[in-house]
């Protein structure tokens, strides 16, 4: 069924432009961009709202299997649709870890039955994310694994990692690393500095991230594997990243929305909803990350959606669980960077949609004829105060509770189907 979305500000991250017009959709794909509609088709007036390729979010934790009370594919799917995320790429740090084709088939089936947005899955790189034996990379690729990662369990045995990377390279698989020197970061709950020291929190030097990245880049050079760093959050890690790219290594990097919009002081009086991994950084680091996204050194912004129940957060700070939910707050938080003049809308969607899709070899993330009709329509200026209990995620652990935000998703489409919103006050 053909559909025309008109009177929109079209954000094209490929061309880097914002134009006024509409898009024509048919059979789940974009047919034309900018052309006026034929009279016969169904039309939706976007009333001047922005229209962009839907967000491709690398690194969402859906707590199936293992902890469905924290987040299910159903609740995550609703949250994603409400947040303008049209493709979720899930993390394998579940319990048990997604490390066999059988478990991957289980989650693939659950995801297909329960959610209306696109869901792709990462698999663990080593069995049980224990860092000792590599998983069945080939079988997992056949079963649909889109990338391989042990998430925050850094593979400390360099020999194991080297072999896994070498094997992955022969199959063209993407390995996603978590750059961190675990010996330094063990037990840390904050970034080393005046604030963490005064608050008496166990802390880690930002240097731990650079040391981890340096090692990984060395191994990428050695093995030739395709590598993506899940989160680069400190200014010190940027020069080695830039060098690796300049040397032609197949390396990309991401950053979480929280490290772009919050800093270490937000923890304030031991507020555990601000405990994330790696810990929030200094304001200088935050600014450096925003700049790195602007100039393309950091390729991808992701939510690092990590649901935690109330019990695991209602603890003393160093005992509390890490992580924050972010599927629904990703876009309004990212728009803070637009409203502050730090990033343009095309720059934002390059990092939210285009680059992650490209890196994963997905067709999505573009606003061009032939691309899938995975789209988000949003009003970047609409103000609201976030109420965490209004979130669709089962877990409500957002650092933005009570925050004043700007930017509401009006409508989300996946393969041309409206999966969220449509009315003016959706």
């Amino acid at each position: 069924m053909a559909l025309y979305l008109g009177n929109a500000r079209l954000i094209d991250p490929e061309a880097g432009t914002v134009t006024t017009g509409g898009v024509m959709l048919d059979k789940g794909r974009i047919v034309s961009v900018g052309a006026p509609p034929p009279d016969v088709v169904e039309q939706i007036d976007c009333a001047g709202a922005c229209l962009a390729p839907g967000i491709v979010d690398i690194g969402v934790k859906v707590c199936e299997p293992g902890e469905r009370h924290k987040e299910s594919f159903r609740s995550a799917g609703l949250a994603a649709a409400a947040g303008g995320v049209t493709t979720m790429v899930t993390r394998p740090d579940t319990d048990p870890a997604i490390d066999t084709p059988e478990i991957l088939e289980f989650v693939t089936r659950r995801a297909r039955d329960a959610a209306r947005v696109n869901i792709r899955h990462m698999a663990a790189l080593t069995k049980g994310r224990a860092g000792r034996e590599m998983v069945e990379i080939s079988f997992l690729l056949d079963a649909g694994a889109i990338a391989f990662s042990d998430c925050d369990h850094v593979v400390t045995d360099t020999k194991v990692l080297t072999r896994a990377m070498t094997y992955a390279r022969s199959l063209g698989a993407l390995v996603i690393g978590h750059p961190q020197e675990p010996g330094l970061s063990l037990g840390a709950a904050a970034t080393a500095g005046k604030f963490a020291s005064l608050k008496g929190l166990p802390h880690v030097s930002p240097m731990a991230e650079r040391i981890g990245l340096d090692r990984d880049i060395g191994l990428v050079e050695m093995t030739g594997v395709r590598y993506h760093a899940d989160q680069i959050t400190t200014a010190r890690a940027l020069p080695p990243l830039a060098r690796a790219k300049a040397n032609g290594l197949d390396v990309t990097a991401g950053v979480s929305i929280h490290h772009l919009t919050l800093n270490e002081f937000d923890v304030g009086d031991y507020r555990t909803f601000f405990k994330v991994k790696p810990p929030l950084r200094s304001e200088d680091d935050r600014k450096a990350m925003v700049e790195a996204v602007a100039d393309g050194l950091i390729d991808v912004i992701s939510s690092m959606h990590t649901p935690q129940d109330e019990e695991s957060k209602r603890l003393p700070f160093d005992e509390a669980a890490s992580g924050a939910v972010a599927l629904e707050t990703l876009l309004p938080a990212a728009l803070r960077l637009f409203h502050s003049g730090e990033l343009t809308l095309p720059q934002l969607f390059r990092a939210l949609s285009l680059n992650p899709a490209r890196r994963l070899g997905l067709d999505a993330g573009r606003l061009a004829p032939g691309a899938p009709a995975d789209l988000v329509v949003f009003d970047p200026d609409a103000p609201f105060v976030l109420d965490r209990f209004a979130l669709r995620s089962k877990s409500k652990n957002t650092p933005f509770d009570g925050a004043r935000m700007q930017g509401k998703v009006r409508m989300t489409l996946v393969a041309g189907e409206i999966v969220h919103g449509m009315t003016a006050d959706a």
């Binding site: 080393a192 604030f195 963490a196 005064l198 608050k199 008496g200 802390h203 030097s205 031991y270 700070f317």
Partner: protein, 318 residues
């Protein structure tokens, strides 16, 4: 008298005038204690619960004595006898205790911020008896009272805090307090025991005792917290004593009338030479213990007054 706090969670939230008020009252209690006079039982009818998630004989005894001198009903809840060992969360423990309607809750916990968390869940006044590496406010207050009595003032003094600063909540509370009262604070210790970012605290940092002690009015030694050393922070105790232990030779760099303090318990021969600790002309370590009771009496007295003021319904004029 100015004291507007509902809890005593740390020195950081206190105004200098609140510190002065508390010390003035503590001074009066110290005199009464010394003269053997019974103070007014201002805490009579109030229940004080001491909840120590970390073992401490001295601090717990000091709080208990302070409460009893002022007439409170004091109950000690040791961690070994509590349900925390059975997996109860801190908040559930707090709610359970809260249901027993205590008036004063004295808490020590191994995690920074744990006492703040607990205070947010209960209706009574909470006193922090030490949380992780964060704060130990009554220790800083008793140190301040000791200094004020020995030196005649609590401003424009040069105070050297020496030893394991990184793991010390005593150091943090003292840095806040001495800074608020406009003193010069120096931190001295091996770089592995100095917290990162300490130079941004408005203090001077030294890793040489002779240099750091030069001209100091007060020398505050810290306990080398062996139980918190989960890796080699120092090569050996004897090398530590050689470089950072307070002996007569190092103390000679400080002012002739400099006083020596230690929060206890002491490791003689590790951070402090026994003869200095026992030198009644220099060491005020016993006086610190004495002032501890007085300061805790004052703190609980002031908090109880605020508690009463908060809970008394305003009288309606007819």
């Amino acid at each position: 008298m100015i004291f507007g706090q509902d809890h005593l969670l740390g020195i950081e939230p206190l105004h200098p005038d609140e510190i002065r008020s508390l010390l003035d009252l503590a001074d009066r209690y110290a005199e009464q204690n010394r003269s053997g006079q019974r103070p007014d039982p201002v805490l009579a009818g109030l229940t004080q619960i001491n909840m120590f998630f970390e073992n401490s004989t001295r601090t717990q005894a000091s709080f208990e004595l302070a409460g009893k001198r002022l007439g409170a009903d004091v109950m000690n809840m040791g961690v070994a006898t509590s349900s925390v060992k059975k997996g109860e969360t801190l908040i559930d423990t707090a709610l359970t205790l809260n249901a027993m309607r205590p008036d004063l809750l004295v808490v020590r916990h191994g995690s920074s911020g744990a006492v703040n968390l607990l205070a947010s869940k209960v209706n009574c006044a909470v006193l922090n008896a030490g949380d992780g590496r964060h704060e130990h406010p009554t220790q800083a207050l008793l140190d301040a009272l000791t200094i004020r009595r020995a030196k005649g003032r609590l401003h424009r003094l040069t105070v050297a805090i020496c030893g394991d600063i990184a793991h010390s909540r005593v150091a943090r509370s003292n840095i806040h307090l001495l800074g608020k009262m406009e003193n010069r604070v120096r931190l001295i210790g091996p770089p592995t025991l100095l917290p990162p970012g300490a130079v941004d605290w408005g203090v001077e940092v030294f890793d040489d005792m002779a240099e750091g002690l030069a001209g100091a009015d007060v020398v505050m030694m810290l306990r080398l917290q062996k139980e918190r050393m989960d890796g080699g922070f120092i090569p050996s105790e004897r090398e530590y004593f050689h470089r950072f232990g307070l002996d007569a030779e190092k103390l000679a760099k400080a002012r002739d009338d400099a006083i020596v303090m230690h929060p206890g318990p002491m490791n003689r021969g590790v951070e402090i030479d026994g003869t200095i600790a026992d030198d009644i002309n220099r060491s005020v370590i016993q006086e610190q213990v004495e002032m501890g009771v007085a300061v805790r009496m004052a703190a609980m007295d002031l908090l109880a007054r605020n508690l009463k003021a908060r809970n008394t319904p305003r009288r309606v004029m007819v």
